[in-house]
Structure formats: structure tokens, C-alpha cells
Subunit: 327 residues, 6 copies
Amino acid sequence: PGRLHAATHEEIRRGATTDVYFVKTYEVLRHLGALNTPVTADVFANRAGILCGVEEALNLLRGLPVAVWAVDEGQPVEAGQVVMRIQGPYGAFGLYETALLGMLASATGWATAARRIKEVAGDTPVICFGARHVHPAVAPVMERAAIVGGMDGASCILGARLAGRDPSGTLPHAVMLIAGDTLTVAHAADRVFPPQEQRVVLVDTFQDEAVEAVRIAAALGQRLAAVRLDTPSERGGVTPGLVREVKARLAQAGFGHVKVFVSGGITPERIPPLKEAGADAFGVGSYVAAAPPVDMTMDLKEVAGRPVAKRGRIPGAAPDPRLRRRL
Amino acid sequence: PGRLHAATHEEIRRGATTDVYFVKTYEVLRHLGALNTPVTADVFANRAGILCGVEEALNLLRGLPVAVWAVDEGQPVEAGQVVMRIQGPYGAFGLYETALLGMLASATGWATAARRIKEVAGDTPVICFGARHVHPAVAPVMERAAIVGGMDGASCILGARLAGRDPSGTLPHAVMLIAGDTLTVAHAADRVFPPQEQRVVLVDTFQDEAVEAVRIAAALGQRLAAVRLDTPSERGGVTPGLVREVKARLAQAGFGHVKVFVSGGITPERIPPLKEAGADAFGVGSYVAAAPPVDMTMDLKEVAGRPVAKRGRIPGAAPDPRLRRRL
Amino acid sequence: PGRLHAATHEEIRRGATTDVYFVKTYEVLRHLGALNTPVTADVFANRAGILCGVEEALNLLRGLPVAVWAVDEGQPVEAGQVVMRIQGPYGAFGLYETALLGMLASATGWATAARRIKEVAGDTPVICFGARHVHPAVAPVMERAAIVGGMDGASCILGARLAGRDPSGTLPHAVMLIAGDTLTVAHAADRVFPPQEQRVVLVDTFQDEAVEAVRIAAALGQRLAAVRLDTPSERGGVTPGLVREVKARLAQAGFGHVKVFVSGGITPERIPPLKEAGADAFGVGSYVAAAPPVDMTMDLKEVAGRPVAKRGRIPGAAPDPRLRRRL
Amino acid sequence: PGRLHAATHEEIRRGATTDVYFVKTYEVLRHLGALNTPVTADVFANRAGILCGVEEALNLLRGLPVAVWAVDEGQPVEAGQVVMRIQGPYGAFGLYETALLGMLASATGWATAARRIKEVAGDTPVICFGARHVHPAVAPVMERAAIVGGMDGASCILGARLAGRDPSGTLPHAVMLIAGDTLTVAHAADRVFPPQEQRVVLVDTFQDEAVEAVRIAAALGQRLAAVRLDTPSERGGVTPGLVREVKARLAQAGFGHVKVFVSGGITPERIPPLKEAGADAFGVGSYVAAAPPVDMTMDLKEVAGRPVAKRGRIPGAAPDPRLRRRL
Amino acid sequence: PGRLHAATHEEIRRGATTDVYFVKTYEVLRHLGALNTPVTADVFANRAGILCGVEEALNLLRGLPVAVWAVDEGQPVEAGQVVMRIQGPYGAFGLYETALLGMLASATGWATAARRIKEVAGDTPVICFGARHVHPAVAPVMERAAIVGGMDGASCILGARLAGRDPSGTLPHAVMLIAGDTLTVAHAADRVFPPQEQRVVLVDTFQDEAVEAVRIAAALGQRLAAVRLDTPSERGGVTPGLVREVKARLAQAGFGHVKVFVSGGITPERIPPLKEAGADAFGVGSYVAAAPPVDMTMDLKEVAGRPVAKRGRIPGAAPDPRLRRRL
Amino acid sequence: PGRLHAATHEEIRRGATTDVYFVKTYEVLRHLGALNTPVTADVFANRAGILCGVEEALNLLRGLPVAVWAVDEGQPVEAGQVVMRIQGPYGAFGLYETALLGMLASATGWATAARRIKEVAGDTPVICFGARHVHPAVAPVMERAAIVGGMDGASCILGARLAGRDPSGTLPHAVMLIAGDTLTVAHAADRVFPPQEQRVVLVDTFQDEAVEAVRIAAALGQRLAAVRLDTPSERGGVTPGLVREVKARLAQAGFGHVKVFVSGGITPERIPPLKEAGADAFGVGSYVAAAPPVDMTMDLKEVAGRPVAKRGRIPGAAPDPRLRRRL
Ligand SMILES: [Zn+2]
Ligand SMILES: [Zn+2]
Ligand SMILES: [Zn+2]
Ligand SMILES: [Zn+2]
Ligand SMILES: [Zn+2]
Ligand SMILES: [Zn+2]
Ligand SMILES: [Zn+2]
Ligand SMILES: [Zn+2]
Ligand SMILES: [Zn+2]
Ligand SMILES: [Zn+2]
Ligand SMILES: [Zn+2]
Ligand SMILES: [Zn+2]
């Protein structure tokens, strides 16, 4: 099979994803005998957000002859705030500018969106379902960032592991359609899942959600932990009224213990009315995965010990107590 | 050094970036004896865009016992249009749903933004400078998509190569600051660059752009192909008036051959007035790189030869002449 | 039982619903010996609309010693256009000003809204379901006005009869809930309805609409004329996607002859996408019933043969070819 | 003369204004032997408002074998709140659903608008002048609802009587135009009105309002209670500046006791500046009369003792302390 | 009495209204021996407009050792267009930069607003009534500019004379209030005005305008040329309905020859409906008088024969056929 | 040379800038023997503002046989508030109505805008640079009004003197372009300026502002008081980032004493971020100079001792403690 288009770890480390001008930069600086001029480079965020990507960036820089300071992951940073400072010969790390900025920008974008979700969800668990909206090469980066931003879990296996969590998820529409009946799937899952794993059943594939929820609850009884509502937009999506009714009908049928897990186009605006209607957990995908990067800029602020800056920026690397020595 | 957080090609191929529920799905279907039920799965776009990511997706599927049809990359697709159809035993490809959708969604998002840029730029060359806004693992995916969408070049080495182009770029602010004078750098580059490579010099690091442009032109003469303007927002960015003036002052000093290359926060709205003022080429970064994915959905439409669909969708896989057999 | 609050026909005819000041007016004019001064009174519309209420107004005036000219019902009238002209001794009809204006204003308001619905619906039938939104005393007035405005039928028995139509309607949610199953009701209706009456079954009471529609169609076969969708807002209302899917699933099951009748919060904005998705008929209630009146004003324009007008209006009753002599 | 289009009390009571499907419902239920199934039906408001129409609805239901609970008229109700509950055999009251909902919806719409007017008017009297904007059959219903909503009087004779008030109103423009001079009318009214009735004279028919007001005041002296300003829009309507000036000129001429009564297109937005300018009373017509209904829905919540509901609603009739047993 | 604050002609000519920095400029240039360096100065408009002020500016420059080119007054000019070019020793005219720019900016602002009024008024005469909104020292400048912009007359005596017109105006409210009756004033004016002067009477001082207009017309008959309506905002201003009614009532009374002249807060938006209602002429004050200046900038473009410009502008004085040699 | 179009003091005093209708008024009143009727005339503001122009108006009225009361200059006045009251024979001052209103309206407009600037600038000095945007005849009126409104200085020589201040200003772009280098000018100015005059140098003519600022500071050292930034819009104008950087680069080079003076399109919205970035003073031109007049109206309120008013106004001159006897 042909190669995947994503860069491998080795390609990233040898600079293949860098902008070509850094190659030209090296030639010129070598010609000028200035490749190893000691410099201080500051990375700052162009808008406010929740910082992420620092640990991966350190993994990229580790082993190079540089000193690195950084703000901690998960901390809020302001527009213009220095989030990372690198000191060393320019030739030792200049090649990584593009990669470093990209790691920080994309992870910080995701963590920032995740924080906004968590702020409105409060104690209600929110799980990241965003892997299908991003390239698989960065799906684990995104899901880890979602957890750094405050979300409670992730469905992508590698992403959850990077964040030190077990992945969480429920059976999809496909298995329902293959089996032909939600109840068949519910019974099978109940048989094959280990006892400690929660039974959560998606109930919108064939039937009205309230009808199906009561039917599944009647079959699994106390072993049914939750039903998932993922009603498509052609059917009006999941409304607060639907959540309220499903919970009421379950309770009236004696299944008040069954929780309701809501997914499908969840945004910060939709969470409060759904919570108030009784939603017990949320799966959030596109809102986090499609979050724009928090763009980062790297500026040289000292060259051979002298403060410098390009026009528009203030020369010199000012001390900043929020920066912590990491390498 | 610790591992990078991006997934490797091997991890993607063995399903580590998939959503965990596909693992559960396999267990349940195996229990039901239905894992290898023949199915037809349709992937459709949730909003209109320029399709991309198909070739990488085929590279992922190649070698599996499935038949695949797809729309060609670079084609416009509508909301709801089927862009890929996969037929085969569900167990043979179900694991790749998350990865496939992510490849298509993100690449299509980037190609769609690139097309919009190219439409307003017309014959004026536009180069992708977006690598620093995305994770390095997907920088080549993004830059390739930008070229599929119609852009004329890319600065990321691997990205340009994937698209069969040479990477293009100019010397950055950092080399100017290390050397301490734009002219020093211009002279050195002129010395070390091969003759066929165009000399393009960034002229906003230390001085007023018009002053510096004329100074560099006076030194390099006919060998100077272009100056690049990347004026930061603290200095008002690159305005149409600045482009017009730099071109006029160069012409008045006898350097009418020198082109003007503009970068920095370029959007479709900013291109027409800059073009009209005389800009000869653009570098576009954030607008393309931060483009949201064009979300994709995969639905089973046939199971064991029967048309099916979940509630909200129409059962059956309708023939579509825009789909071409690929595997 | 206590009396209903609506006025009876007799109360209207003897002036009990008039404004009290007309009583005072009579006393003063009698004192001045001017009660039977010949006058010309013009009624004009304050905003544009489709004129209605003229026939009922003529029924009120018939038998009085007055000459009356009017524009025909169903005609569009402009803001400021004279829609009715009355000539005779003031004392003969002054008492009816309030009643006349009210009849014209409310009926014209309803007919105007109905016309707007019909304009967007085109050939697709639209039935008025608005009786429950207005007082029963005026429900027939409203439904007749809806038909004058262009709608194709009405569910209120008396209203339809006034307009020379048979009332039309389908079985409500209540009968489904009492019977406990839509199919039970469908079978019973099929038994008791005369052969020439169309079988239309409401399919959103208990189940997913598409599931229920196919189930009812399988039972009644060619005798099922249509299903009605009235999905409540808690379930997202009736979306174009739902209509499209129900029609597709019926056709796939061999019931392509079954039409889809849509109701529930229908407005002019919602009709085009629903029509395009395949809706075959609409029931419209609140949009027509809650339409504001097209306010009417009656001005004396001649007194004893002389042109007059209050400040702000132009004296005299100008000839108008759109007025036709009626009494 | 031909019949009026409004329904008579007898037609309402025998179901002629009901939707035709209730007739069909009866046939089907009789066929199923379920016509007299005991049910509980809840009526709820679709948006918040001031409840009205309950007493008329009770007059319709009185004598039927049903138990009825209701919220009191004049109380604020919320969206979704149950405002009336009926228990009994469905066949005993199902026919009245359309009529009941219409009575409650329209009266509640009017009372809600009236309450909003009264809230901004505070202690300043507001009289309903809306009869000419609605059909005469419901004019008394509307005016009674306005008083239930809090307004201080009504001009429609029957409406005021239903609310236990005397109707109030002033002489109209027509009598002025017939007499040819406001002063002639003022003198005549002064002669024929009983002593206890207030003399209020409309002063905008022929002359500038301030000029006419002082002229009438000079003629009637202490017997003039108020002047009414009803300036038409062609003359700019009644502005706060006009009220202020009329009051000042009356006071300067020694008629500080004369009040100013304002009418013509009064809305909640216009009342505060007019009050502040000195307006002593308001006549409000279109704002109340054209208020949209507060739509009501009747749902079966118990059938034969079991809780039920259609999809989208919660089964069962929950106890509600705001409901009071009425029948 | 103390002095007026406006500058006299002599003060303007000797530079007393210039910015102080030109004084400093002279000292510095004299010190550098560069005061009489030959220069070319271009004046350009910062936004589009109708050029005015050129003749006054030439009157200021006449007699100095400079050559001057300019666009003609009354011509439309674009943003950035050169409207005047001055060549000569800087010391000969630098002192007048502030005064020149101010003359052009303010007169062009007024002429631009006047043109917009004239464009919507078409053939209907428009008279400038703006003198009371500007300082008397510039009232004639403004009124002349209004006529250059296309208006048909002006009320300010000196302004009209400068534009070669006779001033036009009508008797104000003050004379009515002193005389106590509009008719008294009309009679007196009819007596004292020369025969060829049109009798135009303001009719809104004491009475309803329509009543007063007919009364004055009855008294003056064919000698009454027009009535003026200047209704204050407290009375709703002059509405199209008022114009229509006054014209109709005059015609009905046999005075169809009397024209209607409208004033009071006239803007381009209000003119079309008033014209359509029959207005025969307009007095426009604040819209023209309060128009913002069309700011002008003077840039040196040649110094001692060499093209120059400050940063942001293009060096050199390009030939422009729209410039005509004036001095 | 031809005459300037502005009115001279003598023309203003003899009524040549008045509206022509006052001339007609005199003729009519003389004919009626009413020219010297004693009257009270009130001038009121049509919108709120900071009163100015009173002293010039008093200079116009001084010596006439009238009594005058007025609010003090610099005081805030409300819409409708009487700002000046004149008592005397109408013939003695009627001719000055147009001139008086114009003086008050335009000066109050300027003072009002100046106050708004001062409110946001707080302690930071703001200098009026508006002379070039108004006609030179009123430039001193405008600059005096700016100071009455609260600004700290003015550049127009006569304007500053009228307000009892020394004019302030800095060397313009023209002197830089003639000399060819900012440093040449800075040296010359340093030589010719008296010791007590502050050296402020405009640094945006040829070079990047930060580069030039440090270069000039290096040359003049402690004698350099400030640099002025007037960056044109083609270069992005003066941004907060530019101010911050210039101050930082000056401080880093040891010239922390040099202040930054900002000009060019300054509005109330732009001042707070520029102040926060370190701007030490502002030059404000167009915002104040182009401020619309605060229109004034003069109404007769007493004639021969009787209260009067035209329709729409309240008769009589009410006592007002804010009015102070001035003549
Ligand atoms: Zn799904
Ligand atoms: Zn998703
Ligand atoms: Zn850079
Ligand atoms: Zn970028
Ligand atoms: Zn229903
Ligand atoms: Zn309805
Ligand atoms: Zn009226
Ligand atoms: Zn009304
Ligand atoms: Zn006036
Ligand atoms: Zn005016
Ligand atoms: Zn300048
Ligand atoms: Zn300016």
C-alpha cells in the first residue's frame, strides 16, 4: 500500500515538516559564520487560551543543547504572553520552529475549547468524541488536549492512554443495523462485556427513543447503566423535551436508575438546557475537534547577549515568573 | 526523549487511533456470528466543499478485502453527497471508520479553504505558509490539500513533495536579526543561492519597508526578484497603500522589475484590494490551516444485501455516477 | 348554565356590541336636530391585504335605508383604499360602525394570512386547522375567510359550510391514546368510514413516524390514502428530512401511493423546504388564526351634500371604479 | 337579511364550530366500544400569559358529567403550565375541545396584552377602545378580558356589562363633522348629558388641538372634565410635546382643572413619555385587540386510570396546587 | 463692544489663523537657508465630494509668486484626487496651508451635501436656510457653496450675493407672534411688498395649517403665491399627509394655484415622499450646514526639482488633465 | 486680489449675514407700527451639549437697548434648556437672530466634542489641531471653543490667544521633506528655538518611527522633550503597539525621558488604548473640527408683556436660575 500522508515521528525529528526557508536560513548563516550564535527565542500566544502541547514540544527538544522554560500545561495564558523560552545556539533548534509552533498552536486550540465545554457542564461528565473530525495522526494529540483542558474522558484509544485514562465509548449505529434490532445487540453486549463495564445502549437507531429506552430497560433491568441519545438532525436532534420525557417514562416504568447520555452536535450553548432537562453525561465531538488553533509566534529577543526584536516588537527577553525551567 | 503524541503510521494501521467502541463492536458482532456480514457503507459530507484525502484513505484501505468507489480529489461536493462507498465484510474495515472519516474531513476542510483563496487570487500565485499553525504530523497533509485545492506552492518540505512540487519560501526574520542587517543577509543569500533560485528578500525587519526595499534593490540590482512584505499588526499590517508605494518607489529608483510578495494574516477579503494595489504573490497561512474540517459521516446502507438505514436516513445505496471504482 | 360571553346575532343587530359613545352621539344629534343628516361614510384599510367580511357586513346593513358600495371579497386592497362606502341618514347606520369595522378588520386579517400561505404552497392543498386558536363564535368567520383568501379547505364544520365546502380533517391523538394503538384505530376507521372518504392516519402518537407509517400501510394497503405527520416540537417538529425519509421508506416497502400530510406550526417560511422534500398537503392553524386584524377606519366624507373631513384627511368622497354598488 | 357568519350560542353548544375530526372520532370510538372510556385531559398554555376565558369555558361544560379543575382567571401562568383539567368519559366532552381551547386562547391573549398596558400605565386609567378591531361577536369577550387583565374600563356596552362595569367613551369625530363645529357639540352634550356624567370633548377634528381645547374650556368652564386628543398620524399623532403644551395653555388660561385623555395607536412603549408629559388617561385599542392568542393544547394524560401521553409529552396527570376544583 | 472671535480678512491674510508650527517652520528653514526652496505642493481630498472653495483660495493666493492649477468648482472629485497644485518658493505660500485647506474642506463639505439634496429634489426648487446653524463669518461661504453644489437659492443676504443671486426667504414666526394673527401679517406684507415679489405666508404659527392656509388664501386670492409649512416636531413635523391635505383643501376651496413650500429638518430621505405628496419647494437648513468638511491634505511632491514624498505617499507630481492653470 | 468670501466683522454687525426675511420682517412690522414692540426671546438648545459662544454673542449685542441673561460658557446644557434670554424692543435685535444662533450653535458643537475628548483623555494633555478642517475665519472660534470645552491647547495662533493661551505645535512634514533629513531639522530647531521651548520632533517622515526616534534622541539627548507620531493610514496609522514599542526602544537606549505625542485621526474610541500603551499627549483635529453644530432655536415667549408661543411651544418665559444677567 502507498504511504500515509502524515509525517512519521522520524520525519518530524529530522525536520522534514519544517518550512523550507529554515534550510535556506542555515546555508546563509553558515556562510556568515553565524549559525551558532547564541540566541533567546520567545514563543507567545496570539490570543488567550488554555495552554497545551508543552510536553510534546519538550519531547522534541530534549537532548538538544538548549535551555527551555515554559508555562505549565492546562494554565490559562493571555494574548501576547510568553509561553515558552528557548536559549541556545540558533543552529541547534531553529529547524524546529515550525514543528514547535504547530504542536503548541493546535493542542492549545483544542484544550481551550474543551475548557469552555467543561465550564458550562460543571460536574456533569463530558467525553470527547472528536476523533472522527481530525486526521488520525493527531487524534491522540487532540483527545489528550481535551483532557488537559478538563474533559472527563475520550473515546480514542491512544488519546485516552496518553492522558492516562481508559478510553470510553458506546456501541455505534452500525452494530445495530447489522444485528437488525437494538435488543439483540443489548443482550449480546450484556453477555460479552466484563461485569465491571457499564452497559450503555444507543436507542435511536430504529424506533422512537422513549419506546426503545423502556424496552431495553425492561430487558436488562438493573444492569442497564444508561441509554445514549444521538438523534440525527433530520429527526430534530436531541431536545431538552426528549431528555425530560425519556427520563420520565423510564422512571414511570420503574427504571429510574437508568441515566441518559447525550451526543450529537453538542455546543456550550446547548449544554445548560439539556442539563436542566436531566442529561447525565455528554459526548462532544465537533465543537472541540474543529476548534481553531491558538496561533503561536516565535521571536528572537536576544542575539549574542544583546536585546533585539523585529519592528513591531519590544526587544529583550523580560523575566516572567510564570515560566518554569524544564530543560 | 519521550515519545511524540502523534500517532505513527503503524498505530493508525493497527487501529490505535480508532474510537474504543469499535473494539466493543467487534466483540459483540463476533458473539452474534455477524462480524463478517457483507455491508455497504456510504461516506457523505455534512457541508459543501472541495474533496480531499481520498488518496490517503485508499492507501489505508488498500489490501483489505473490500471494493471501494470514490469521487475524485479536487472535485466540489455538496452537503449530503456520497463521497466514498465501501463494500465488503464489516469486520474487514469497520475498525477504520474513525481514521477514514478524519482523513477525509480534515483534508477536505483545508482544500475547501484553499480553493476559496485561489478563486479570489486568480492568476496571482498563492503559497501555503500554514505549517506552523497545525501539528507537524499533519502539516504535509494540510499542505498537500492546499495544493489539491488549487494553491500554487507550499513551504513545508514534505507537504510540497507529496504534492509533487518543490517547496518554496523566503528567509525569515530570525536570520535578519542574527545578522543584524537585511543587506548583510541579502548579500550572503545572493552568494550561496544557486543561480536559478529566485532572490526574494524580506524587508520589514528593521526599517521602513519602502526604504529597505530600495536599498536592497540598489545592492542586488537585476538579481533581486522580489521583496517580501510581512509587516506586523503593531505596524498596521500590509496595507494596499504600502504595496502601491513600495512598487512606485522601486520603479522611480529604476527597479521596476522587482516584484512584491505579501504575507501576514491574508484572507479572501484582503486579497482583492492588495492585488489591485499591485501585489504579485501571496503567502497564506492561518486562513487555510485553521479552516474547520468538513465533517463526514459513514452510514451502513446495505446489510447482507438488504437496504437499511438508521432513523433519519434513507435506506439503500443509490447508484451515483460521480463515484468511480478505485479498489 | 351561565351565558356564553360571545354576543348573539340579536345583540349584534341591536347594537349591544357597539361602543357606548354612539349612544351618546345619538342623543346629541337628536338634540341638534341633526340625527338624520344625509352623510357619506367611507371605510378604508390601514394597511394592504386581501379584503374579506364584506358579505357579512352587507347582511348586517341589508334592510336599512342606505346605499352601499364595496370592493369584492378576495380582492387585494392597498393601504388607504376605500373598501366600502355607505350613503344615507347617519342615524340609520351610525350605530353599526364598530360592528362593521370589526367584521371587516378581522376577516380581512385572516384572508390576508391565508393568501400568503396559498402563494407559497402553490398547487399543494392547504387546509385550515385554526379553529382551536380563536373563540368558537368567530371560528366559522375565520375558516370562511381562510377559504376566501385561497385555502383549499377547513376543518371547522360551520366554517366550511359557510364557504360552501365539506369540512375536512383527520383523527386526532386523543383517539389513538384511548385505543392504545394506531393500528387499532386505523382498522376501525377503515371499517366505519364510507368508501368514498379518504383514509388518512396520524402516525406520530406512539412510535417513530417512519416505522408506524410502513406498519399502517402494510395493514391498509391501497386503501390508505395518506399518513399525517404532526410531530411535536419536543421531537423536533416535522423536518424536511423526516418527510423525505417517510416517503422513501413507504416507497421502498411498496407503498409509493401513500401521500404525506404535514401539520404543526406551519408558516410560509417552512412550506417551501417541506414541499421540496415531498409533502403532499398541509394543515395550517396558528399562522392564519393568530393573524392580526387589518384595521379599518370609517370617515364621514360628505355631510348634507358638502365634502368634509376631519383634520388629516382629504374632504369629499372621490369616485372609485373598484367600488361596486351592493345595496 | 342573510345570516351573520358568527356562530350562535346554540351552534357552539351543539358542536357546530368543532373540528370535523371529532365527529369521526366519535364514530371510531363507538365502533371500538370505547367512547365512554374515562379519561383525564389537561389543557396547558404554550407560552406565558394572564389566564382568562375560564368562566366562559365552565359555562360551556356546566351540566356535563365531568369534574373540572382550573387556575383562577387573572392569574399569571407559565409556558407548559396546566390551566384546566377535565375528568370524565371522553364522549361527554371531547366534542368541545376546539371550542374550549379557542375560548381560553383568545381571552388569555387579550388579558395578557391588557396586563402589559396596565403595568406601564400604573395609576393612570386605561380604557379599552378595541371593539372596532375585532368581530362584534367576540368584542364583549375581548373587553371583558381586558378588564380581567387589569384595564379600568371598556367602551363596548356588552363587554363592560359582562365585567360588571359601566361602559365609558367620548363623542366621536362623526358627530363633530355633522354638527360642523366642536363647540356646538360641546354645548349640546353639556345640555343633554346627565349632571353626574363627565363632559369629555374630542378637540382635534377641525382645529389645532391647543386652540380648540382652550376655546371649549372657555365655554364650559368648570363643567369641562377633560379634552380628548386623538390626533391622526398624518398630523404626527399625539406627541408628548402636544400633551405638555395643551396642559400648559389650559393652565395659563385658567383651566388647570381640565384633564387630557389620549388615544390613537397607544402601545406600552408610548405610555411612559406621554404620562410624564401629563396625560391623565389613555384609550387603548389595537394593541390589546390585535394581541395574538396564547395557544392552548389539550392532552389526554390518563385513559381508564392509566397514565398515557403521546410521544413528546410526559404521561400522567401530576397534582398541581394551582388547580382549583370548579365543577 | 468686545471684538468678535472670527478672524478678519486682514488676520487671515497675515497668517494669524495659521497653525503656529508654520512660524517655527520659517525660522528653521531660514536657519538652513532653505526657505525659498522651489517646491510643488499637491492638495488632495480625503473622501469623494463636490469641489468648492477654489475661488476663495485663489483670492488668497493671488499676487504671490506662485503658479497654481486647480480643478473647477462644482466638479465631483474622488478620494485621493489632486484638487489644487501650487508651485513656487515654499516661503511664499507655506504660511497659507492651514487657511487654504480649511477653505477647501469646509466649502467642499457644504457643496457635497447640497448636491445630494439637489439630486433627490430634481426640478423642485431647494433654498438654503442654513445660515443660523453656522457662524455668521462663514454663513456666506456656506450659502455660496450650497449654490455651487446645485441648490436654487439662499436666504443669507451676503451668501446669495456672492453666488450672484437675490436672497430669498419668507416671514418668520416672530412677526406672526408680534402681530398676533397670521392674517394681519399677510395683509401688511401684501401692502408693503413690491408687486413683483411673491407673497409666501407661513401658516403654522397659531392654527391648524390647513385651516390657516385656506383662510389666508381667501384673503389674498390670486396674489397668494404659496404657503409655507414649518410645523415643529412637537406637532409631528411636516408629514406627506399634511402636504397632501393642505393642497387638497386649497384646491377644493378654489385656490389650486397656491403652492406649498416645506421646511424644517429636511433631509434627502424625507424629500421623495414629500415631493410625491405635492410639495412645490423646500427650505433646507441643518442637513447642508452641519455637513462635515471634506478633509484636504497638502503634500510636498517635489523639492528643488526632485520628486519626494513622506512615507505612505508616492513621490512626484503626476500630470493630471483635470487640473487647469489658474494663476 | 478678489475678496474673501467670509463676512467681515462690519458685515456681521450691519446684518449682511442675516437671513433676508428679517429685512422683510422689519418692513412689515414698521407698516403695522409694531417694530418696537417689547418682547422676550428665548434661545434654547435642540440637543444636549457644552455651551459656548456666549461671550462672542454678548459682544455682538453689547450697546443695544436690550437686557440679556445667559448660562455660563463651559456649562453642560440639556436639550430644550434656555441658554440665553433677550428682552427689549424687537426692532433692536431681531436682525441678529441668525448671527446669534450661528455663533452659539457652532461654538457649542465644537466645545461639546472637545469635552468628550477631554473626558476620555483625563490628565493626558490634548491639543487642538483642527484649524485645517474649518474655514480660517472661524478657526479661532473653533480653537477657543475647544479650550472652553476642556482641551489643553491649540495650534492656531489667534485661537489660542483668544483663549488666553500660547499656541502650541510641532514642525510639520513639509520642513522635513525640504531639508531631506529629520536629523538636519532637529539640529536646526534645537539651534533656533529659545531655551524654554520644548523640542518635539516628528519622526515618521522618512523612516520607521522607532528607528528615527532613537536616532533623534541620540543626537539631542536630554534636550529632546518628545517625539511626535503621525503615521499615515497607508502605514496603518499610530497603533498602541507602535507607541509601546517606541517608548520601550527609547528607554532601552537610555532615553526614557522622551515623551510620545500622538496625532492623526484621533477619536474618543482610540484614546484609551493609546493612553494605556503609554501615549503622553494627543493632537486632535478632525474629531473636534468636524463636530456638527448644536442647533439653537430662538422663540418669542412674551410680546408686549403677554406670554405667547407658536404652536408646539409653551407660552411665557419661565424663570430659570441657571440664567445669569449679563447685559
Ligand atoms: Zn451513528
Ligand atoms: Zn462528531
Ligand atoms: Zn517573521
Ligand atoms: Zn501564519
Ligand atoms: Zn395532537
Ligand atoms: Zn394549531
Ligand atoms: Zn375618529
Ligand atoms: Zn383603534
Ligand atoms: Zn420659526
Ligand atoms: Zn434650521
Ligand atoms: Zn503631515
Ligand atoms: Zn486633521
